[in-house]
């Protein structure tokens, strides 16, 4: 199949179908409503399930119910909507249900704006809801990568029995790019008879399955949390992903940037290289698990003087970068989160100023 031109939001909806998920519940919110509009037309054509819920709170529990009985399920939303789903995410993570959530981030806090932002980094990677849980978080930097991440999200969610979040921004959702849907990323759902409430007769069993998150016994709850923690540690070992850029050069500055912002940084790096100024970049493709070792190693390179965290938030990723760099290099931040994406010229200016200030 050749490439087709598609808007990010629509491509995300189609990618889920191509991955083998025909169930979708959602609530409208800008800038991702095109996913729902697209799927409200597309899913009935293929006998899938589309339902517009009464709220994002309800969406997250429709997801719980559907995932709990063993079916593939996904939803899309944007920042304020994800806040409302965060209660459900905590329950879903505790009940160990596989499900895919897409957050096409907009500016915040509060109603914020409807333009692109990366202001939900903390919410996605540190929790959002209550209790000790983690989401598996992937951050696409193009529509093609969003498609591939959505397709990979379903088997990952099933591998870990954990919710997976695709953390995109308004630009990923709204822009059109040529894409293709890789056939090899279609996957078969895993057998869930061990735990899903799919009906005892469905699995020829006389033993009920219970999907729950209540553990009143303190030892039992502690054991449950240790089990969850072991899964999160396994994610770190087995599925951390990042893209290195220009790391072979003797860069003076190492940029850490993800999503749409990293594309701008890539242009800036190319332009600086043309003038003989080398800058390297680590682009985390998974935000949890975070590419700790890659950043630590890259920051330790002898030529590297400064690490620059560039993101469309007020520095939410800085703490993660700092704990990787461990004080070996200064970690600087630049970002905007009103909805404007910083330009390559701005990035070049700040990167150079970081270096000058470091020398001064």
């Amino acid at each position: 199949m050749g490439k087709i031109l598609m808007k990010g939001n629509e491509a995300i909806g189609e990618a889920a179908i191509r991955a083998g998920c025909l169930n979708y519940f959602a609530y409208p919110i800008t800038p991702q409503s095109e996913v729902s509009e697209y799927l409200s037309r597309r899913l009935p054509e293929i006998r899938g399930v589309f339902l517009q819920a009464e709220s994002e709170v309800a969406v997250s529990y429709m997801i719980f119910g559907a995932a709990g009985c063993g079916e593939r399920i996904f939803t899309t939303s944007s920042s304020p909507g994800i806040s409302l789903m965060s209660e459900g995410l905590s329950y879903i993570a505790s009940a160990q249900l596989p499900a895919v959530f897409v957050n096409i981030m907009r500016g915040g806090p509060g109603l914020g704006g409807i333009l692109p932002s990366q202001g939900d980094y903390f919410q996605a990677t540190k929790g959002g809801g209550h209790g000790d849980y983690r989401l598996f978080v992937m951050a696409p930097s193009s529509v093609q990568e969003a498609v591939e991440m959505v397709m990979k999200a379903f088997p990952l969610a099933e591998k870990y029995r954990n919710p997976v979040m695709i953390l995109g921004d308004g630009l990923i959702g709204q822009m059109m790019e040529p894409i293709e849907f890789p056939e090899n990323l279609r996957s078969e759902p895993t057998n869930k008879d061990q735990w899903a409430t799919n009906g005892m007769a469905t699995r020829n069993s006389d033993k009920p399955n219970i999907v729950k998150s209540l553990f009143l016994d303190p030892d039992e709850l502690n054991d449950h949390n240790l089990l969850l923690k072991a899964k999160y540690e396994r994610m770190k070992r087995e599925d951390t992903k990042y893209e290195p850029y220009n790391l072979d050069a003797d860069y003076k500055v190492l940029i850490v940037s993800y999503g749409t912002m990293s594309r701008v940084c890539r242009t800036a790096i190319d332009n600086m290289k043309a003038e003989g100024f080398e800058v390297g970049m680590i682009r985390p493709q998974t935000l949890f698990p975070f590419p700790e070792k890659a950043i630590s190693d890259a920051a330790s390179k002898q030529s590297c003087e400064v690490v620059a965290c560039i993101e469309m938030s007020m520095g939410q990723m800085v703490e993660d970068v700092q704990r990787c760099v461990l004080g070996k290099r200064p970690v600087k931040w630049y970002g905007k989160c009103g909805g404007d994406v910083p330009t390559p010229e701005e990035v070049i200016y700040v990167v150079k100023s970081f270096l000058d200030k470091n020398k001064a």
């Binding site: 169930n23 519940f25 009985c69 009906g199 009920p208 219970i210 729950k212 209540l214």
Partner: protein, 245 residues
């Protein structure tokens, strides 16, 4: 002659944690009997609420999901939409359904989701220790309205069966009680009807069951039955509020 009366297969051998005089045990049994009689245990999924019945899955012998507070109707929607062949019911109390879960129940009912809700109304929050519920009666004392429910401050108790039956969407909405044997027979008939409508794929069904909570009412079980009959039943009138015919 064989056994004429036995424990339903849909119940486990567990002893329940419910207080003396609580009606949850009776209601569990009625639901289990109906599930046995309809032969649907192998394809039933129950959803327990946040409230005294959160551990209901310990007492029923089929698949169960445990909800967050008030969200059971959204979960039932999720299950029923992706697996319409499963028989799904939510089991909810008055705080769960009529307060924090009001949005979920109204929209599920209005979409005509093909699941069944067993709504246990005992006019008080049970598990959290007897706080005021949306169904608490005027003047009724609870731990958060120690002087009695003041309707000037917090309004009148909500009549869920009436409220839900006002929706234009087809549905089966009934209010029964289990406080005395004579009512229990009718309550079981209603529960069976509700599950049968679901089996036939006809409509959303809700059975409200006026119940007792002697512990949080501060009454003996016998006094609780008397109070329910004299105070709750005149306000929460029994009957079929809506049928799909």
């Amino acid at each position: 002659m064989g056994k004429t009366f036995k424990k339903p297969e849909a119940l486990t051998d567990e002893h329940t944690h419910y207080c003396p005089g609580c009606t949850h045990g009776v209601i569990h049994r009625l639901v289990a009997e109906v599930i046995d009689e309809l032969g649907i245990r192998g394809r039933t999924v129950g959803i327990s609420p946040v409230g005294c019945a959160v551990l209901a899955y310990n007492y029923f012998s089929f698949d169960f999901q445990e909800a967050a507070h008030g969200r059971a109707p959204a979960m039932a929607t999720g299950i029923k939409r992706v697996r319409p062949d499963l028989i799904v019911f939510t089991y909810q109390g008055d705080g769960d359904l009529a307060s924090i879960g009001m949005g979920e129940i109204i929209h599920a009912a209005n979409r005509g989701e093909k699941f069944t809700t067993i709504f246990v109304n005992n006019a008080v929050y049970g598990m959290t220790g007897g706080q005021m519920a949306p169904t608490t009666m005027p003047g009724q004392r609870t731990t958060t309205c120690p002087l009695g429910r003041n309707v000037e401050e917090v309004g009148m108790p909500i009549k869920m069966a009436e409220l839900l039956s006002s929706l234009e969407t087809r549905g089966y909405i009934t209010r029964q009680t289990v406080i005395k044997p004579k009512y229990i027979i009718k309550a079981k008939e209603a529960i069976k009807k509700a599950f049968t409508y679901q089996l036939e794929g006809r409509c959303f069904s809700l059975v409200e069951l006026v119940s007792t909570c002697p512990t949080n009412w501060g009454l003996t079980p016998v006094e609780a039955v008397k109070w329910a009959e004299e105070t709750l039943l005149p306000y929460y009138k029994l009957g079929e509020y809506k049928t799909p015919e």
